[in-house]
């Protein structure tokens, strides 16, 4: 969807303080819908996971309410993941620059970004998180249906019930791990990331620093179109 990355009309790019559109309105809406659905599943799921977190059910209306809505929000989250897949599939494929970047990831963790090779619109870590959530939700929805309609699984096939529980828990924990890192990085660690997903824009310098290949691509695209090519 790289064609959507037009330069904001407010200030021209290249000059100091130029802004670049990083996420379109549609991308932001889908991202936040997904976040809402996921967080609901997370809160209610954790309530059932441990007696010490059962109080979490109270903040969404109590145990029976949480139980009623968890699978429905799970389905909504599944739909929203499918949507994000359609939206970001091409941007999220792992490329050669990503592989180079992944070998130098240590510098990213240590905030020594100047030692990193340039990357495109998303870096390797962001892409991994995307694929983790996508495959995660596939496992969650299949096993979730097993938990939802547990009585429809006949007694003779009850091993399926046990597999459903196991898969649901493992997939949920895996996505929770990714989610913790995702939230940390996009709010506390990478300054400007959260604002980008809220307002949709980043500064040119932000783009140049964190996603140089993407920056070069969009500035070239805009220059080209400005010159009517």
């Amino acid at each position: 969807m790289s064609t959507t990355h037009v330069i904001s009309s407010r200030r021209p790019v290249g000059e100091s303080g130029g802004r670049i559109v990083r996420y379109t309105l549609s991308e932001r809406v889908h991202h936040w819908l997904g976040a809402l659905f996921y967080i609901y599943c997370l809160i209610t799921g954790l309530a059932f996971w441990s007696p010490y977190m059962y109080w979490l059910a109270a903040i969404v209306g109590g145990g029976p309410t949480a139980r009623f809505w968890h699978p429905w929000f799970g389905l909504a989250f599944t739909v929203s993941m499918v949507w994000m897949y359609k939206m970001w599939d091409r941007d999220m494929r792992i490329t050669e620059p990503d592989r180079r970047w992944s070998k130098a990831m240590e510098y990213y963790v240590k905030n020594e970004d100047e030692k990193l090779p340039p990357v495109g619109r998303f870096n390797y870590g962001q892409k991994l998180f995307f694929w983790l959530m996508l495959y995660g939700v596939i496992l969650l929805v299949i096993s979730g249906l097993g938990l939802w309609f547990v009585e429809s699984i006949p007694w003779s096939l009850r091993w399926l019930r046990y597999i459903a529980v196991t898969v649901h828990v493992i997939a949920a924990l895996a996505t929770i791990g990714g989610f913790i890192i995702h939230v940390y990085m996009s709010t506390a660690m990478v300054r400007g990331g959260f604002a980008a997903m809220v307002r949709g824009e980043v500064s040119a310098i932000w783009a140049k620093t964190h996603h140089r290949l993407w920056y070069e691509q969009v500035t070239k695209d805009t220059r080209d179109s400005a010159q009517g090519r």
């Binding site: 100091s16 139980r67 970004d113 938990l147 009585e151 529980v165 791990g177 913790i180 660690m189 310098i205």
Partner: protein, 295 residues
């Protein structure tokens, strides 16, 4: 049902101790079912419905005497009829009263995620507290006997209560009361165990039923409902009574080590990102390096 009159030994998904955890009662209650004298009259089925206030609903005819294929949320007591071929080729009808077994180690209670939705009283009765049930169905996965059943209207689970409301008032369960042959008995676990063993011995010694024995499975630490069977080596023949029932090991791991591993992993993740922030801080764009450009 009547939480107020009985002390509670175990509570499902309870973050803390149960009030009756350290209570040592001399007597556990127990129901004894002697399958060798059951005539399949279904008086107990009717008594169960009557006492618990359910009306008879439509049923599925399965080409057998059995009222329906399995117990349902509003039909807790079902005589299972099984044609069985003896070694000499003759046919016999095995009849077993199926209901909640009231395990000493209840798998439903272990699996349940809702605080107080399943309790075990100090007299051994395992009881669902529907007001706390969230209808998740975990108990279905936890039960080794396929007993808890879901009411889709109220979204709550139901099963035999061992007539805890009667028992706590000093009465015997409704099914016991109705049995015309006396194949059902109710009393303390020790007494019932004695009676059952005596009966099994009698069957072996006086009637030549060599494999007669008592079903009180050790895998769930014994049950509050025990059977005298003609053939203790083949309980499966009695409508799928499991030979060695136990709480599924997946449920054990899920509710035991997996909980701790998962919780530690989540805590570790939170701790990890916090430490990362303290050690490396945020990625700020170095303004000096990009002079004149506003981040």
């Amino acid at each position: 049902m009547s939480q107020s009159t009985l002390a509670i030994r175990r509570i499902s998904a309870h973050a803390g101790a149960a009030p009756g955890e350290n209570v040592e009662r001399d007597e556990l209650v127990c129901k004894l079912i002697d399958t060798t004298t059951c005539i399949g009259c279904k008086a107990c089925e009717v008594a169960c419905l009557e006492w618990n206030g359910y009306t008879f609903t439509e049923t599925v005819f399965d080409n057998s005497y059995q009222t329906m294929p399995e117990t349902t949320w509003n039909y807790w007591n079902l005589i299972k009829f099984n044609e069985h071929e003896r070694e000499d080729g003759s046919i016999t009808l095995l009849m077993r009263k199926d209901q909640c077994m009231h395990c000493a180690d209840p798998g439903c209670l272990a699996a349940c995620p809702a605080d107080g939705a399943i309790v075990q009283y100090t007299n051994g009765i395992v009881d669902f507290q529907q007001q706390n049930c969230i209808g998740c169905g975990y108990c279905v996965s936890g039960c080794p006997f396929d007993i808890p059943k879901f009411n889709p209207t109220t979204k709550k689970m139901f099963k035999c209560t061992l007539c805890v409301d009667r028992v706590s008032e000093g009465l015997e369960p409704a099914c016991i009361k109705s049995c015309p042959t006396g194949c059902l008995h109710f009393g303390t676990k020790d007494d019932m165990k004695d009676l059952a063993e005596t009966r099994a011995k009698q069957l072996r010694e006086n009637y030549g039923i060599e494999k007669a024995g008592v079903y009180d499975p050790a895998g769930v630490n014994g049950t509050g409902v025990i059977y005298v069977l003609h053939d203790i080596t083949n309980p499966e023949a009695y409508g799928g009574l499991p030979k060695n029932p136990h709480v599924p090991w997946v449920v054990r791991i899920w509710k035991g080590p997996a909980k701790w591993i998962g919780n530690l992993a989540m805590l570790g993740g939170l701790l990890g990102v916090t430490l990362h922030y303290l050690r490396y801080g945020p990625k700020e764009i170095d303004a000096e390096k990009h002079e004149g450009e506003k981040p």
